[in-house]
């Protein structure tokens, strides 16, 4: 299985398209993340969209290029996401309610909508999913 791969001429189509697609997809993933609580979306699906946007870049350029592009490596992202999700549950404990009770700020903010611990949880899940998917796929791609 270690046969040398045929070197293919790199197509320009995908890199050029990715240059426009990736920012759009990342923006879309944040949109999905923020509307998640009451409408279709959420941290998990947002994270998947973001991860696929980044993987698109890895396919168009190279896994190494993606690693260079990422400000944080996938592994710490998983840990940070998990910790964030954990903290969002602990906020309720600190105010004397059972673990993971949703607490909300009463007044909705523009663009972001209603803020609360479930959103924090979703943000944690978002980073966790990005981290895990990139971890798995980059390991496979670099193998």
């Amino acid at each position: 299985m270690n046969k040398p791969r045929r070197v293919l001429q790199r197509s320009m189509m995908l890199p050029v398209a990715t240059r426009y697609l990736m920012p759009l997809l990342l923006l879309f993933s944040v949109f999905l993340l923020l509307r998640g609580h009451n409408e279709v979306g959420g941290g998990f699906i947002g994270g998947l969209v973001a991860a696929s946007a980044l993987m698109l870049y890895a396919i168009a350029e190279s896994p190494a290029a993606l690693r260079a592009l990422l400000p944080v490596a996938p592994r710490p992202l998983v840990g940070a996401g998990l910790l964030l999700a954990l903290l969002s549950g602990l906020v309720a404990v600190a105010s004397g309610k059972p673990f993971m009770t949703g607490l909300w700020i009463k007044t909705p903010l523009p663009v972001l909508g209603k803020l609360g611990t479930p959103l924090l949880f979703d943000v944690g899940v978002y980073f966790l999913v990005i981290g895990i998917v990139l971890w798995i796929l980059l390991t496979l791609a670099e193998d």
């Binding site: 299985m1 998990f44 895990i132 798995i136 390991t139 496979l140």
Partner: protein, 128 residues
């Protein structure tokens, strides 16, 4: 519709079990995937199907309509799908590694754990 889904789940179960019983790792993987789909369909079918009636309270009322679709089963399926996503990713990597290490995807060649590995020679296949 329920009957149709039940039959579909049954066919998927049968196909999955058949594939899991094969000796090739790739076919076992396909079998595990099919079994996962079968269970998801079973879960979907376990809540009584009520098409076209979302479990939402209409504006101005404080109770949902008398008959509404059960959202829990779908939440369960979603969780099950996410879990099987993770598990499948791991299994694919594991099977790929197994193929690389054993140089065969035949379970009959994977006897090191039960019998002493007499022939560590890579690529040596057992006689059929």
């Amino acid at each position: 519709m329920t009957l149709l889904l039940a039959i579909a789940a049954g066919v998927l179960f049968a196909a999955g079990i058949y594939m899991v019983l094969r000796r090739s790792l790739l076919k076992i993987l396909i079998g595990l995937l099919l079994l996962g789909y079968a269970v998801n369909l079973l879960l979907f079918n376990s809540a009584v199907l009520v098409p076209g009636r979302p479990p939402l309270i209409p504006a101005g009322q404080d109770q949902p309509p008398a008959v509404y679709a059960d959202p829990l089963a779908q939440a369960l399926i979603l969780t099950a799908i996410v879990i099987s996503f993770g598990v499948t990713a791991f299994v694919v990597v594991l099977f790929r590694k197994a193929y690389a290490v054993v140089d065969s995807d035949d379970l009959n060649d994977m006897r090191c754990t039960d019998l002493p590995c007499l022939d560590e020679l890579p690529g040596k296949r057992s006689e059929q």
